[in-house]
Symmetry: C2
Subunit: 767 residues, 2 copies
């Protein structure tokens, strides 16, 4: 079939608009408004075009192919110049499709202006969209990215964005819609929460909430796409990000991972569309990090085939539960018992409220009140007073109760079952790690852009005051942080790959260890960086209009939720001590003790005085030296830790004391290990690239990241004679010279983070 001339005039815009797979509510409204105003369209044209903007019945794949065929035929057959703007191309298509005598009217200025208006409204009036268009209609076209100004950052961005670049770009497009803008002066928590809920519903409508779920429940079965969408959301309001995570990740994730087919069928579609608002009731006031000892009980009653959920003490109440005020149902984690036998922690679906949103009998919910940040999320406390639910509500993938009232599980051991269940929920940590880095990048972009505009004191020899980014102190404060965010990006993409791979498997120990380590590293990096950026922007950084206020307050809790960083790092250390042979999350020291009785092999680089004292720049900036430093540190710490533990065990010191005596050492080891991992992934990325400008561009943050990490911990390296005092000083000098190299490229490096100007709202960073 062929579309009418009128429709063809808009096909390029519609094609590229829909190619993003996202048309936001405001965009659709705008399209309808503008289309209605176009006098050159027939009534039938308008009806057809407007129908395509209906979110409930978007253009089918068939339709999309028809568009493409018309465009290709029009633009190829009639040899249209492939560098035409999308507006002009539409007009040419229309002219070709129209009767000869009619074709002149397409050249009127009014028509062009009115199509251009639509192009602008869709945000595609730029070279990149044009390029993407021609690339997609004809893969053999001759356009090159090099033709576009601001070339470097875009290429780097492609590398940083990685496999899920499309999803990230869709998420940005969606967030850029004014509908998702939260005013800085909206402080009332009830109003904020309602706004965030509305925004979350809109995102659900677009299908992004369900993306990790199976296709039959409205999803794409893609945990990769889901995490990519999530991490990008940190560019917008972070309450919305957390609300999204609570609903689709924690609540929906628990149903998906811990429930069976009947639960998926009953709940997943409604969870993904937010028809069912749910919360994830795990943490208790008395037990935050210690999930295995939660006090809430779920007692089985065989006569009624039901479970009674009960909060035995006030401090056993569920705490900080996101969605507590909006939810109608909760996944409750409780100690499951049959008669006198306790089978450990299990998850149960418990209805919280009736159709009028009134709390059901036995349910008490209390608002957590104002928080440091995230006031758009309705956190609350929940208590259960003998609340009975049918046994069908038990999420029974790893353990259930059969019709005879007997406990059944594919995993015999209670501890193994517990750790398997917790492991299934690792997605939360993976996601928080990623979102931390996104928020960090945004802060850095603001601080660097401000430092490239701001002048303060005059130079002595020049008329103009020096830009504050020209100060070595300012470079030293910000550039290592930029380099760290680069490094983290690759480590997090690597984690995502492993996470996606192990998504369906029950053994997730590697992912769990990496997620715990990277979540800790990335969330502290966010806390430190946002703080430094705020200070680097002085008084301006303190004003809400410049974004640090919200960035700081909202991400502040990332170091605590989804596992306290200090606790997580101790788990990482235990994994290392046991060569990943024990269940992750295993609390006690005994699991570790079994393993460390055998001596950990020391793989530490053998040191010689020439190596230790080599202050040559070529040597210091060599990947070999930096890599050796990371390896040496991890090995040395692991070796000395297991050595100490073995010694204490030989002295018959009780295990609890051994654990206390070595706790700090464990945390230090875990930090060193995860930093070495980050270095390795950055290295792998660079190794995999062909020689050329792109590779060169990445080597600079790579070196800064590595040498800065060594310098930050120079005390360790000096203490253990890995470097001499002179070498330590030489490393500092090398870093200063690398900062100088980064200085003229600083803006490009933060532009490569790919943060659209609209989402970088800070007044001080406006271009």
């Amino acid at each position: 079939m062929h579309y009418s001339a009128g429709i063809q005039s808009l096909l390029p815009l519609f094609y590229i608009g829909w190619a993003d797979s996202v048309l936001s509510p405001s965009e659709m409204k705008t399209i309808r408004k503008l289309v209605n105003r176009m006098d050159f369209l027939s009534f039938t044209d308008k009806r057809q075009l407007i129908q395509w903007t209906d979110p409930d019945s978007p253009p089918s794949h068939e339709t999309y192919k028809n568009w493409l065929m018309d465009i290709q035929e029009g633009s190829l057959n009639y040899s249209i110049d492939k560098k035409l703007s999308l507006v002009q191309l539409g007009i040419e298509l229309a002219k070709n499709a129209a009767n000869f005598k009619d074709s002149n009217r397409w050249d009127s200025l009014e028509v062009k202006a009115s199509i251009a208006e639509l192009e602008k409204a869709l945000g595609i009036d730029n070279q990149l969209s044009q390029l993407a268009f021609y690339k997609s209609i004809n893969p053999r076209n001759t356009y090159h990215l090099e033709d576009i100004s601001g070339f470097d950052p875009k290429i780097l961005q492609t590398i940083l964005d990685g496999k899920y670049a499309d999803v990230k770009s869709q998420a940005k497009k969606l967030l850029m819609d004014p509908f998702f803008r939260v005013p800085y002066d909206l402080k009332n928590k009830e109003e904020l929460r309602n706004l965030i809920l509305d925004q979350c519903i809109e995102i659900a409508k677009q299908g992004y909430g369900a993306s990790a779920y199976p296709k039959e429940y409205g999803g794409e079965n893609s945990s990769g796409a889901n995490t990519a969408f999530f991490e990008t959301m940190a560019l917008g309001n972070i309450s919305l990000l957390v609300k999204f995570g609570v609903q689709f990740g924690l609540f929906g994730g628990a149903i998906l991972q811990l429930g069976t087919k009947k639960h998926h069928e009953q709940y997943l579609a409604d969870t993904g569309s937010l028809k069912l608002v749910g919360c994830f009731a795990m943490t208790e006031t008395g037990h935050g990090s210690n999930v295995r000892n939660l006090e809430t009980t779920a007692k089985y009653n065989h006569d009624s085939r039901s479970l009674t959920i009960h909060t035995p003490t006030n401090s056993a109440g569920k705490e900080y539960i996101g969605n507590a005020l909006h939810a109608t149902m909760a996944v409750v984690f409780a100690q499951l018992s049959i008669g006198d036998l306790n089978y450990g922690i299990h998850a149960v679906m418990v209805p919280l409220r009736d159709k009028n949103h009134k709390e059901l009998t036995g349910i008490t919910i209390e608002d957590n009140g104002y928080k440091m940040g995230l006031n758009g999320v309705d956190n609350g406390r929940i208590w259960f007073d003998d609340v009975a639910v049918p046994i069908a509500n038990l999420l029974n993938k790893y353990g259930g109760i059969d019709e005879k009232g007997n406990y059944q599980s594919s995993i015999d051991k209670e501890s193994k079952r517990f750790f398997t269940m917790l492991g299934a929920l690792v997605g939360g940590r993976v996601s928080v790690a990623m979102a931390s880095n996104t928020a960090t990048k945004k802060s850095l972009a603001i601080a660097i852009k401000y430092a490239l505009k701001r002048r303060q004191f005059e130079s002595i020899n020049e008329d103009e005051e020096t830009l504050i980014l020209d100060y070595p102190t300012h470079q030293e404060r910000l550039f290592p942080l930029v380099a760290k965010s680069y490094a983290l990006s690759f480590a997090l993409e690597a984690l995502r790959e492993k996470f996606v791979e192990q998504y369906a498997s029950t053994d997730k120990r590697e992912v769990e260890t990496l997620a715990a380590g990277l979540k800790s590293y990335a969330s502290w990096h966010a806390t430190d960086t946002i703080q430094e950026c705020r200070e680097a922007c002085g008084g301006k950084g303190y004003l809400s209009e410049n974004e640090f206020a919200d960035l700081k307050a909202d991400t502040e809790i990332f170091t605590t939720f989804e596992g306290d960083n200090h606790v997580l790092l101790q788990l990482v250390a235990k994994s290392l001590l046991t060569d990943f042979k024990e269940e992750f999350n295993s609390g006690g020291f005994m699991a570790v003790a079994r393993h460390i009785l055998k001596r950990v092999e020391s793989k530490a680089t053998s040191l010689n005085p020439i190596y230790t004292g080599n202050t040559n720049s070529e040597h210091i900036q060599s990947i070999e030296f930096i890599e050796a430093a990371f390896q040496f540190r991890t090995q040395k710490l692991l070796f000395s830790l297991s050595d100490r533990m073995r010694k204490y065990m030989g002295k018959k010191i009780n295990p609890n004391d051994i654990f206390l005596r070595t706790q700090t050492h464990m945390v230090v080891l875990a930090k060193a290990w995860i930093e070495a991992y980050i270095f390795d992934e950055f290295y792998k990325q660079i190794e995999a690239m062909a020689e050329g400008e792109e590779k060169t561009t990445l080597i600079l943050p790579f070196k800064i990241f590595g040498l800065n990490a060594i310098l930050e911990d120079k005390g360790f390296f000096l203490e253990n004679d890995f470097i001499s005092g002179d070498k330590s000083k030489a490393i500092r000098k090398n870093l200063v010279s690398l900062f100088k190299q980064m200085r003229p490229l600083a803006n490009n490096y933060v532009d490569a983070f790919g943060i659209p100007a609209v989402l970088r709202r800070a007044e001080i960073a406006k271009d």
Copy 2:
């Protein structure tokens, strides 16, 4: 004279109530209410008692002496037991004063209950008040502090509170009044600002705003008392603290320090009483740290004997000005010129608003909007469009214009004049340094008290879960911070002494250098500590009800205002390089260059291998070793810095480049120097004490502070061979053992900060 029996029954309460010199508005209201209800009082008694609660005519010194005489006579002459409660003593006094036949009715339960109610309402129903009472009516009494439980913290508190303990205690008492409580859910900035303004007016009524001003303007001429009151206010809402500082310290301080007698007479009394609300318009958008190059102009017109104040560009607008929305007048800092000649920065009193609070012609004021914190302070931007004010409005202590239109100043050189003027305003930095430490102490008290209640994981060998303060990681996170706050307390008291001494002098270089260094150190200490404490309290730390939200957001800007820390530290380094011979605040490098041409003497401790490698605990914990470390570091950094600069000068590198190349080095030197100063003051304090428990108690945080500082910078000490790798490890071991010593005393150490439970509102730290 003798008071009636009725009045005598209340004299002990009134005496001790007024002894604090503070009766807050709510207390006075309560007294009146309760007195009115007392049936055993005659109408005349009531009228007299209520008259004494009138804030506008408080009891005279005479009256107070009469109370004392009646009390002493009654309690001594009739040999009353000196351990009676204040209520019972009042009853005994009344019985003695009453007719014999009347005396029985004083023993009724109703009378006792009703006096006890008043005692409770005044917050003096405790042993300490009783002790203070008997001590003050009879200095020879036999009560000892040892009789009171919780003895240690009180003694330590006395040492920490120092010379201005009374003022600090008055400030606490005032802040404890419910009137000064700001609800956590009050988020609307307009409402918050109005509340804070009302609170500030109440404080002014009590006379605390004016305390630094001369007596003739309602003050006490005590900059010591003023700073002590200010620092204590950080225990309450910090917006109120900042508002207080802006009004009485910055605005009033500028009038006092830069104005002459006519200005004092015209403005000071009204400023102190807050009848005149003013702001301090120094900072400009384009020039934050660089005051000398402000762009606002003040042009002299001889015909009209007036100054025209003008903002030449948008970025020359005054920025972040506190009180901008409430003020009717501003002290404006501007470039003073007569004809074509510029005489540099001067301060001018400029009316902003008329009686209806409407902006005057030529004045534009804009709200700075929401900020990260301090939303109770009305910061704004101010622009002047050719605003004329009489020449009398020029604050002309350091420079004015005579009747012939000639510039007159006691200081010839423009730069010297500028630095003298700025130096006169050093009080702000002194105050912010102190308030930083107060807020820090409060955070620590909350985090430590929570860690002494919170259990998380079970011990392996015990039934009870371990307290989180028993974890070595937790001790390592919090105890060095407690020790730092102790150390800072003494350094800040020493700074106050010097500040008070140099208050009237024009040469304040030592105070300026110390204030800059200590303000930087203390404000970063606050930022780091509040962050660590929040994280140490996990999710609970994130809830507004636990105070970290406000503490963090409100103190965050302390690292920036009253001078950006990085800029201040560079000024400190310049002072050190020039042996304090140059004006503080002097921007350029040339001033420094003149001095460093002569070689700085190296006083570094001579090192020998035995000293460097001595890992003996006695040696490591010796004051000699710790002191040597601090001295070595400062000397080494100063020596190497001046050496580098001299070398660059020899190579004819231009001064600006020399400055840039050594900027980081300067900041490092300044930090080391101020930390050494803090150590020295702590040492002096301990040296001055007699041997005994008190001294012993202080030595523990002293050692922790010293060794922790060395360990934090072990990279430096190792790099420069001051310690060996083995010694560095030994220092860590020693610290761990000192932490163990601190653990059982931790609660006492934070109690000694003297924070009343009422002002420690955090739910998690409730006793």
